[in-house]
Point group: C2
Chain length 219, copies 2
DNA sequence: TGGGGATTGTGAAAATACGCACAATATGCT
DNA sequence: AGCATATTGTGCGTATTTTCACAATCCCCA
């Protein structure tokens, strides 16, 4: 029953999606095998790190050969939870919210946005790409009824915390937060902050010439 | 002339935008002072780390008092390069590209998107919010002529590398990449990958129940 | 069958990053 | 003035992460 001691560091976990992405590209290109050095080169990192990361999720490599792309891909999908279909609600149908809702790429990751909410009376009741925009006051009802686990917040920062509270109370356990504020949530709820301004700052700093930093790691 | 030994770790650099964000919110709320513990609480981190980070960019705190919000804010703006106006071009006017172009929040960070490009003949020549969408073949000309330093890539992954090459050749030194691929660029060019799918994976993993990880750090 | 070249997995060292704990400093109140 | 309270800046031990380096493993081909 000792499943295999899965000892995964925080930093490594953040890298898994990048391995996945690169492997998927290789799979599409028809490569059946890939070496740690190739993978490292594609991602601009060290090959030893790739090997250690991959070895920590299982034994997929064969010495002298490399990694089996489909096999590894499958393991990563499993590990990343991409095989589960996830249903989410999106709150805040502004430009960003609309873009996310229309983004076709999420399907491949098992995500489906099943309901839209906004607080603007002008928007409530209208449709976006065929989906009805509901009042935020309906969040508790809808989320609970559909047993939604994920909430996507694309509201202005001022209302984000309040929305987060509503979502959490209604049973959401994962929040994808695009509002530029840090949310407080109970420890069992996972929050992923996607702060566009932070990314922008990173680059601005480079442009201002104040820096001499090397190329940043991803994300 | 020893400017002050600015020794900044990579990890710390990634946190600066979050300090900035939180401080800006406090400034708007009218608070003139803030303590490391308040700041830490807002961001869900340790106060010692806040103090060490802030002390490494200068001496802004006063023992027994805390930090002067406007002063610190100014220092962070300087440090993050937010005082420079940055002009950028955006390539790939799909849903995401359009959302970014219309996003008003970037102004506060000194970013202005001055030109849009796409390869779709249907889009070329049309306007988005009053801005003309040009053919990607005009990238070299426009970027060079306007001395643009930043390129935003919101194209499909397949063409992202090619666009990156064009941008770099035309003189761009910072790339904000929303396409889910790792770009190869010369070392002097800085790339920031903004991979939405990576964020999604992070949360999916939690939902699949495979995890027992605590709340993740930001970004 | 055996040697050569490639590549993994990992022990151990090095480098980073974290957080505790406390001396030093500042304010306010009596 | 003197004491109580608040809060910074940082030395230092610990934990985490990265990198090096190499034995072990595997395929290919003669």
């Amino acid at each position: 029953m000792p499943e295999r001691e899965v000892r995964m560091s925080r930093a490594m976990l953040a890298r898994l999606p990048f391995y996945y992405r690169t492997l998927a590209a290789h799979a599409r290109a028809g490569n059946g095998k890939i070496s740690s050095s190739q993978l490292a080169a594609s991602l601009g990192m060290d090959s030893a790190r790739v090997r250690r990361d991959l070895s920590s999720i299982g034994e997929f490599g064969r010495p002298g050969i490399g990694y089996d792309v489909p096999e590894l891909l499958e393991a990563l999908e499993e590990m990343l939870g991409l095989r589960n279909r996830t249903e989410a609600v999106l709150v805040g149908v502004g430009r960003l919210g609309a873009a996310l809702f229309g983004y076709p790429g999420f399907e491949g990751y098992g995500l489906r946005i099943v309901s839209l909410f906004d607080s603007d009376p002008e928007k409530i009741g209208t449709k976006l790409n065929g989906a009805l925009i509901r009042s935020v006051s309906e969040i508790p009802h809808v989320v609970r009824r559909l047993s939604i686990q994920m909430g996507i917040i694309t509201t202005p920062p001022a209302s984000a915390q309040q929305i987060a509270d509503m979502l959490v109370n209604a049973g959401v356990i994962a929040i994808w937060n695009f509002a530029p504020v840090s949310l407080s949530v109970p420890p069992e709820v996972m929050v992923r902050d996607e702060d566009l301004a932070a990314g922008l700052s990173y680059l601005s700093r480079h442009l201002s010439g104040t820096t001499n930093a090397a190329r940043p790691a991803q994300e």
